[in-house]
Every structure is written in C-alpha cells, then in structure tokens.
C-alpha cells in the first residue's frame, strides 16, 4: 500500500481543547472502528490563532533587593526599596546576590528559581526559599528576574499587520472611557473606529495573493 493511501486512512477531530488523530482499522470486519496512531509521525495543523499577550518586560529586572536573615527553616522576606512589578505566581530567578560583608557570593540564593508569593507593598516571598539549617546567610542584596514572561515585550509589536495596530489602541481607549458615565459618547466613537477596522481586518484576512477576496456567489437551482 502506498505511503499516501496509508496516511490518508487517518482522521482527526477536535474536542475538549484537544485534537484526536486516529487510523481507520485495517480489519475488514471492523467497519467504522478506529485505532490510535501506530507509529511516530509528523502532524501539521493549519490553524487560526490568537496573537501573544502583551507582557511587562520593561521594568521587570529588579535590582538592589535586600533580604532579611530569618531563623533556620524560616522563609526569606525580600524587599525592593525602589518598588517591583512582581505578582503572586510569577516565577523569578535570583542572581548577583552578595552578603553585607561584601564580595562573597551568596551561593544559596544565586540561581534559585521560585514562585513569588505574599506580595505586600515592596516586599515579597519566594515559595520554598528558606534559611538552611546551619548555613546562616548574612543580610544580602541582589537581583531578581522573572523567567516565565512570554509574549509581546514592551519594545515589541503584535504580529497582526501594522495597519491594524491602531485598532488595538482604539479598543483600549474605549474601555477606559466606558469606566465613567461622562465618557460614554467618546467610548462610542472609539468603538465605531474599532468596528470599522475589524471590518477591514476581515477583508484583509480573506484576501489571497492576487489581491481579490474570496466570495461565495449564490446560485439558483
């Protein structure tokens, strides 16, 4: 049997945010039954997708953080006197930590990646980052860098064509005006702008390389 006909025995369907790939059973008595794939093969999905999210990567590397000296087994409390942009649940990696005697790297903290918790003002804690028994760390300073921020950075642009970037701005301005009653007429103005650009975006999306749009012509029968 040719590779093509063998491959085309496969079927797919989408359910529960997953895709199923199956192969029609070879057994002649097993009509309409399907098996899971029997070998490792490459699958390509041609999809419509959302753009990445905008993320805060501009002020995220926080330097000059200090930490207290908790008792053995107690959790460290970190303080960024200049403020920080960490949120609970964000993963951060510690680096550049030295103790207050100077020059000595605090090996126990450098390189640790953990989840931020208990954010309160300029302070925060890191899950599971505790003072070790018998290895007292002196008061220290260092840096923390988020590690799980993926998306459109502060100096990056969305993947949608640049002529539609204004639509995103219009939407955000609209949301701002919607928050106050006196802003509703302005909100309506920006909503109309957004809708017009969505309409243009739909046309752009269905255009082919010849510059024409795909249309379905109704037929009488």
């Amino acid at each position: 049997m040719s590779e093509k006909s063998e491959a085309q025995k496969h079927r797919y369907w989408v359910e529960r945010d997953s895709i199923a790939i199956v192969k029609k059973s070879d057994s002649p008595s097993a009509n309409k039954t399907y098996d899971s794939p029997l070998s490792v093969e490459t699958v390509n999905l041609l999809v419509v997708k959302l753009d990445e999210d905008f993320v805060d990567t501009g002020s995220v590397i926080t330097t000059g953080i200090t930490c207290d000296v908790p008792a053995a087994g107690e959790q460290f409390t970190f303080t960024a006197s200049g403020g920080h942009s960490f949120l609970d649940g964000m993963d951060v990696t510690l680096s550049g930590w030295i103790d207050d005697v100077g020059e000595t790297a605090v090996a126990d903290l450098n390189g640790i990646t953990s989840q931020v918790e208990n954010v309160a003002g300029n302070g925060f804690k890191l899950e599971g980052v505790n003072q070790n028994d018998g290895a007292t760390i002196l008061a220290s300073t260092g840096d923390a860098t988020p590690t799980n921020l993926t998306g459109i950075g502060i100096t990056e642009s969305p993947a949608i064509p640049s002529e539609f970037h204004e639509a995103i701005v219009d939407y955000a301005i609209m949301k701002g005006y919607e928050m106050k009653p006196e802003g509703l007429p302005s909100a309506q103005y920006f909503k109309t702008n957004f809708r017009e650009q969505v309409s243009e975006g739909k046309k752009f999306s269905t255009k082919n390389r010849r510059g024409t749009t795909s249309t379905i012509i109704p037929q009488d029968f």
């Binding site: 041609l46 999809v47 997708k49 219009d170």
Partner: protein, 87 residues
Amino acid sequence: MTQKQMLERVRGHHPQAPEALIRVWLNLGLDSFCRQTKILKTVYTFPTVKDQRWYALDDKILEVHSVDYKGYTIPRLLGRPELRDLS
C-alpha cells in the same frame, strides 16, 4: 507600533489609569480583533506518539483549518467513533 507606543497613546486619554490596567485593555482588544478577523494563521507541528490519540491544543489556537499526517491532508471525522478511547 510597539507596546510602549500603544501604552503612551492610551495614557494620553487616560492619564490616571495604571499601566497594568491599560495592558489588560490592550490584551482584550488584541484578542477581540484576532477572534473576529481570524487574521493570524499559522502551522503547528507535533509528532504523534504510538498508541496515543489525544493531543492538547495550544491555548492560542482558535480554529483548526486542516491537518496533514506525514505531509498528506487527512479528513475531519464527522461525529466520533462509537468506541470512546480517552488515551
């Protein structure tokens, strides 16, 4: 337009709004635009695993247009097999 430029444009209208809130609005706008226009299309590639039929789809996928298996387009199954297999 970069995210920074977008933030500044919005802040021109809403100077009191915190940056994090403006970013939420921008993300809502970007999602809404992409959902309505279906403007971003791409290809995801993954290998099948022996005896495994279900594969999680990326959160960013809105619609699956077509599927190739070993490079050949395969049809979408209408309905689902009578025998349910969750593996």
